[in-house]
């Protein structure tokens, strides 16, 4: 109950009559819905994911999070690009670019419905040993778009 007292105090200090009226109306509906309605509410988790799927939001996967956590240490030194080029790699996205903007690119791809973004590289992993901060660059590159909508977990 203490929560409600706190709220009331706050409300009396700043609220307006119009706000109070709305509050009472919506509050009554809320009580009705919560305690007296027999209708089954839709699964909120699914509702959330459906609501924001078009904005690129989806259930985060632990693996992807881990890659992003590692990738945040990038120094923009460019050594991965050198190693990639030396190994004859020509991925559509330079390894450095994949590391740097990968996190947002995923969102962009889903938001803009980009088909076949094509980030895949030869996976020769020449870029990984040269990273001064040990980012698993090839895995970042591989995981960029391959954890597609099918793999939501």
């Amino acid at each position: 109950m203490s929560g409600y007292r706190g709220f009331l105090r706050e409300f009396l200090r700043t609220g307006s009559p119009r706000a109070l009226a709305l509050q009472v109306r919506v509050g009554a509906a809320h009580v009705g819905r919560r305690w007296f309605s027999r209708r089954a509410a839709p699964d909120p988790e699914q509702l959330f994911l459906d609501n924001y799927a078009a904005d690129g939001v989806r259930l985060p996967s632990e693996k992807r999070r881990e890659l992003q956590r590692a990738a945040q240490h990038c120094l923009v030194c460019g050594l991965c690009s050198v190693a990639c080029a030396a190994a004859g790699g020509r991925p559509p996205l330079d390894p450095r670019d994949a590391v740097l903007s990968g996190a947002r690119l995923e969102v962009d791809v889903r938001r803009l419905h980009i088909e076949e973004p094509g980030a895949a590289c030869g996976a020769c992993r020449a870029c990984e040993p040269v990273c001064p901060v040990g980012i698993p660059i090839a895995s970042v590159q591989e995981g960029l778009f391959s954890l597609g909508d099918a793999d939501g977990t």
């Binding site: 030194c77 990639c84 080029a85 030396a86 450095r96």
Partner: protein
Amino acid sequence: MKAVVLGGGLAGATAALRLAEGGASVSLVRRGPGATALSWGSLDVAGASPDPTGLPWRDPVGGEPLTPAQRLSFLLHSRPFHPMVALFPERDAASAVRRVAEAARALDGWLSPQGVRVEGTLDETRLLANVRGAVRAADLAFDDVAAGDLGHASAVLLVDVPGLAGWNAAAAARALGAELQALGVPAPTVHVASLALPEVLRADVARPARLAARLDDDAAQDDLVRAAAPLAEEGRTVLFPPVLGLYRGTRLRALLGEALGGPVAEVQGAPPWSPSGARLDRALLAALRAAGVRLVTGEARGVVGEGSRISGVDVRAAEGDASPELSRLPADAVVLATGRFSGGGLAERGDRLVEPLVDLPLYDDRGRRVDGVPARRHLRRRYSDPQPLFSAGIRTDGRLRPLDAGGRAARANLVAAGEVIGGFDPALQRTGLGFALLSGLRAADEAARLGRGT
């Protein structure tokens, strides 16, 4: 004698190579490339700097440009806290020049079989331009940039490669003109000419690394030489952007030199595109392998031992190595050459600035203790102010043994080399790789002695 070298930049590598040469069984632990791999071709021992805290370009009294030897002498006599001082106990210029020449020869001996040469002496300043047209007053340099000395050139050509990312020859030429004027040297005439790349190379201009890699190929090199031939003019120094091959540029530069009739070099790069550093790093690794040094990719996690003597180093090998778990490397002597922040020699742990391996105390260039508090406490608000944080590192005694908080050698058989030793700001005082080389060699000698218990 078993030696463990921690850190695989120029300091660690030269220490390991010298120790291996002396018959020690050497393991080198390296996390990955560090500051050495991001360097840009000059190996300054006593480079001049426009910064007031750096070494002067001209004699403050006479006004004549100083030679690197004179600058080194100036440093030894005017910067008592610079760690370079410990490396030159004689303090006179003649023996300093000799010592540096020996070191350069040693390094050249290790690297030349791997395709990288060390050039220059302390008798002459080398004026080298970088991709932005800024001029570095350097001394020793690697062969990819060394021939680009502007001090002796009467005419310089900057080769424009249309569309090449990160290279604007016209802008660099403008900057170069302003630089030479500011330095007050007899300026060569600076020209810019455009090079029409052969069709096969054109696809890679947006990615300089790929273009450089493509130019490692003999046929591509020959194509480029043919395309560049119209730029020939006898005696003119020709500066190319740093794309003349990634690892096989020696042949290309020689061919271009013949075709163009003058010295050919790359301009110095700047991160994120400075292939000189990548070439040096690769050559060092190859030299270490050739010398029989055991390379361990991974991170040293701590040292073990009884009393003040270290008996081993715990290492966590990087993923992908056979044994990802902790392994212990036995050690009679340990060389700490872990660099500073990009090498991992200095780090913040839970909001505290530390030397993470042995937990040595850290000092800035004014001798103030800086470890144990957040790194940002040691920053000044203005970028141009001296930043104590970036001059911080460990302190050593005259034999390069790291000191503990009481001013005594922290461990009996631990020595340090390279920028992990503090007391100078490498960005402002252009003694960077030179100090790494000289301290690496000296640390090896000390480690050999300490490892044998003498």
